[in-house]
C-alpha cells in the first residue's frame, strides 16, 4: 500500500488540530519520555558508580566494626562488637599472605584553621601507608605522607586542593601550620583535584597519619582496614585469611558469628543494583500506565477517524482496495500518530536528562538503546491499539460505506 500517503494523512491530521493532537499523544509522550529519562539517569549512574566504586580496583575490601548494616537492630547489635584497633590492623598487615596492601583508616569531620581563616566540615582522614592507592590520591605539590610520619605519629598533613585554595589563596601552603581540632599540623602536600561526586566535593579533606589521628584526635576510634589483594583471583583467599586472623585474635570458636564486618565492592554494587532495580520497576509501572492510557486515546481517535472517513473507505474499496490495504492504511496512520508521540517523548526525555545532567551532579547521557527502545515501544502502542479500529475499517461493507453520509 501507499505508505507515504498514509503517513501523510496522519501527519496532516495531526497538524490540522494541534491541541487535539497534543492531548492525543500526551500519554505516549509521557510514557516514552519517562522511560528515556530514567534509563539515561540509571545508565549514567551505573557508569559513574562502577567507575568510582571500583576506582581503587575491585580487589579491595574493607574490614570494620559494622560491615554492611541494613537495619536498626543489626546496628544496635553491631555497636556492642569490639572495636577494630591499630593492633588488629598491624596483625592483618603482618600475616596476610594474599594481601598486597593493608591500610588502616579512621575518619572525622571538623573545622580546619589557618590564622584567621577557617574551613568547616572538613573530612579529616587518619590514614596508614598506602592511602594514596586506596583513596586514589595524586600529589600536586609537596609530598605524600610516609611510613615514617605514621610510625613517629608526626603532626603533618596532606590537604585536598579545595581546602588549600580556601586557606591559602595565592600562597604556597607547603610547610604552613594549620590547626585541626586542638592540634597544629604542618602541611606537607596538596593533592590534585578530583571534582565532585553526586554533589559532594571530593577535594575537601585533610589526611594525617592514622597513628597521629589515634594519638591526638580520638584514641578510641574503631578503624576501617582496607585490604587490597594481589589480584582479583586472590581476593577470596585474602578475605578468608583476614577473617581467620580476626577470629583467631578474638578467640571466636567455630559456630560463633563474626563480630566484625567485611565489605567488598560487590557488596556495594549489589546494594546499588537492588536500588536501581527498584527504580526500574517503578519506571516500568509509570511508563506502562502512561502508554496504555496513550494507546487507548489513540484507539479512540482512530475509531473516530474510521467513522468520519467511512465514505472514503467505501470509495477505496470500490476502486479495488483489499481488506489488507485498508487495514495497513489505518495501522500506518495509528503508528504514525504514536511514533510522533514517541519522537516527542524521546526529545523531551533526552532534553530532561541533559538538563538534569547539566544542572545537577547526577550524571546522565544520551543512551542510544533507550532511544531505540522508545521508538519500538511507541510503534508497538500504535500497532496494538490501532489494530481494532483498522480491523473495523477493513471489514466495512463497500456498499454501506459508500452510502454513508
Amino acid at each position: 500500500m501507499n505508505l507515504r500517503e498514509s503517513t501523510g494523512i496522519a501527519l496532516a491530521a495531526l497538524r490540522a488540530n494541534k491541541l487535539r493532537s497534543f492531548l492525543t499523544l500526551l500519554g505516549t509522550i509521557i510514557g516514552v519520555a519517562s522511560v528515556i529519562a530514567v534509563i539515561s539517569f540509571v545508565e549514567g549512574m551505573n557508569r559513574f558508580v562502577s567507575e568510582k566504586l571500583l576506582n581503587a580496583g575491585s580487589n579491595v575490601f574493607q574490614v570494620d566494626k559494622f560491615g554492611f548494616i541494613t537495619s536498626n537492630d543489626a546496628y544496635l547489635d553491631a555497636l556492642r562488637r569490639p572495636d577494630i584497633t591499630i593492633d588488629d590492623a598491624d596483625a592483618l598487615r603482618l600475616t596476610l599472605k594474599h594481601a598486597q596492601m593493608v591500610m588502616a583508616a579512621a575518619d572525622d569531620r571538623l573545622r580546619v584553621h589557618y590564622r584567621s581563616k577557617h574551613v568547616d566540615g572538613v573530612n579529616l582522614r587518619g590514614r596508614g601507608p598506602g592511602y594514596d592507592v586506596i583513596d586514589d590520591l595524586t600529589i600536586a605539590e609537596g609530598r605524600h605522607l610516609t611510613d615514617f610520619d605514621d610510625r613517629h605519629r608526626e603532626r603533618v598533613c596532606v590537604l585536598g586542593p579545595e581546602i588549600a585554595d580556601e586557606l591559602f589563596p595565592g600562597m604556597d601552603p607547603i610547610d604552613k601550620e594549620v590547626r585541626i581540632g586542638d592540634q597544629t599540623y604542618r602541611v606537607v602536600g596538596v593533592t590534585k583535584a578530583k571534582g565532585r561526586m553526586l554533589g559532594q566535593s571530593q577535594d575537601r579533606f585533610a589526611v594525617i597519619p592514622v597513628r597521629s589521628f589515634l594519638k591526638f584526635r580520638d584514641e578510641r576510634a574503631s578503624l576501617t582496614v582496607s585490604i587490597k589483594s594481589a589480584d582479583q583471583a586472590s581476593l577470596p583467599l585474602a578475605l578468608q585469611e583476614a577473617r581467620n586472623v580476626l577470629r583467631g585474635r578474638r578467640h571466636l570458636g567455630p559456630g560463633r558469628p563474626d563480630n566484625f564486618g567485611i565489605t567488598t565492592a560487590d557488596t556495594w554494587m549489589e546494594f546499588y543494583r537492588t536500588l536501581t532495580g527498584g527504580i526500574f520497576v517503578v519506571m516500568i509501572g509509570v511508563a506502562s500506565i502512561a502508554l496504555v492510557v496513550g494507546g487507548i486515546v489513540i484507539m479512540n481517535i482512530m475509531l473516530v477517524s474510521v467513522t468520519e472517513r467511512t465514505r472514503e473507505i467505501g470509495i477505496r474499496k470500490a476502486l479495488g482496495a483489499r481488506r489488507r490495504d485498508i487495514l495497513t492504511q489505518f495501522l500506518v496512520e495509528a503508528t504514525t500518530l504514536s511514533l510522533t508521540g514517541g519522537v516527542i517523548g524521546i526529545v523531551l526525555g533526552v532534553g530532561l536528562a541533559l538538563l538534569v545532567g547539566a544542572l545537577s551532579p547526577l550524571p546522565a547521557g544520551v543512551n542510544v538503546p533507550a532511544i531505540v527502545l522508545g521508538i519500538m515501544m511507541s510503534s508497538m502502542v500504535g500497532i496494538f491499539f490501532g489494530s481494532y479500529p483498522a480491523f473495523r475499517a477493513a471489514k466495512l461493507d463497500p456498499i454501506e460505506a459508500l452510502r454513508h453520509e
Binding site: L319, R323, I399
Partner: protein, 236 residues
C-alpha cells in the same frame, strides 16, 4: 459475451421479512454495448448495479464476467475484479477531498500495484482524455461539478476496465453540464468501451442504444433504443 447473468437473486433480510431485491434476473451484455438500466426506486436497479459492479454477491444464480463466476468469489478476489474490470462513476462523484485530481485518478493504479512513474503517466493521460490537463493539481473543492465528474470518469478509465458503470452520473449536475458528461460517455463508448448507465431520467437513458427497464426486482423490458439508433444513423 462480456456479461452473462442467469436466474440472479438477491435477498435481503429485513427483520423477519425477506425482501427480494432481485428476483430471477437474466441479462446478457456484449462488448461495446451502451446500456441504460432504468426503473423507479425500489425496482432493484441499484441492487443490480451493485452486483454488476462486484460490490455485492448474489444470493442465488450466476453472474459471469468475462467467463469468471463472480458469485463464488472472496472479498479480496472481488476487490481485484473491481480494480481491473470495473470503472465506477457515481452520482456524488466520490472523489477523495484531500487529494488533487491527479492523485484521485491514480488511486485505482495504486491498488493495482502500478509503479509510481507509470501511475503518474497514465493518470495524466486519462485526465487529458477528459480535457482536464490544466486542472491536475486542483483539489475537488476547487473544481466545478462537471469537472469533478470528469475527474471521476478519468479515474474510471485509468485502469482500462471492461465496464464503465455509471450510477446517475448527471444527478447532481445542471442539464447543460449533464449533457457534457453524457457527451463524454458517448466518446468513451465510441472508443470501444462498454458503458452501463443506471438512471431514472428518460432523457439520460435516451443516450444509450439499449434500455433495460426494471420493476419489482425483475426485468420489465429490454429493448434496443430505436430512436437513438435512428439519430445515429441519420448523423452518419
Amino acid at each position: 459475451m462480456l456479461i452473462s447473468i442467469r436466474d440472479l437473486h438477491r435477498v435481503y433480510q429485513v427483520g423477519s421479512e425477506e425482501v427480494h431485491a432481485l428476483n430471477s434476473v437474466d441479462l446478457d451484455i456484449d462488448r461495446n454495448e451502451y446500456v441504460a438500466i432504468m426503473g423507479p426506486s425500489g425496482s432493484g436497479k441499484s441492487t443490480l448495479m451493485n452486483l454488476l459492479g462486484c460490490l455485492d454477491s448474489p444470493s442465488r444464480g450466476s453472474y459471469k464476467l468475462k467467463d469468471l463466476e463472480i458469485g463464488k468469489m472472496t472479498d479480496d478476489e472481488l476487490a481485484r475484479i473491481r480494480n481491473q474490470e470495473i470503472g465506477f462513476v457515481f452520482q456524488t462523484f466520490n472523489l477523495l477531498a484531500r487529494a488533487d485530481a491527479l492523485h484521485n485518478v491514480e488511486l485505482p493504479l495504486v491498488y493495482a500495484g502500478v509503479k509510481h512513474e507509470e501511475r503518474r503517466k497514465r493518470a495524466r493521460e486519462a485526465l487529458d482524455l477528459v480535457g482536464l490537463s490544466d486542472r491536475m493539481k486542483h483539489k475537488p473543492n476547487e473544481l466545478s461539478g462537471g469537472q469533478r465528474q470528469r475527474v471521476a470518469i478519468a479515474r474510471a478509465l485509468v485502469n482500462k476496465p471492461s465496464i464503465i458503470l455509471a450510477d446517475e452520473p448527471t444527478g447532481n449536475l445542471d442539464s447543460t453540464t449533464g449533457e457534457e458528461i453524457m457527451a463524454a460517455f458517448e466518446r468513451i463508448w465510441n472508443q470501444g468501451n462498454t458503458v452501463i448507465v443506471v438512471t431514472h431520467e428518460p432523457d439520460i437513458a435516451q443516450h444509450a442504444n439499449r434500455i433495460v427497464r426494471m420493476r419489482d426486482g425483475k426485468i420489465e423490458s429490454d429493448v434496443a433504443n430505436t430512436r437513438r439508433i435512428a439519430v445515429a444513423a441519420a448523423r452518419s
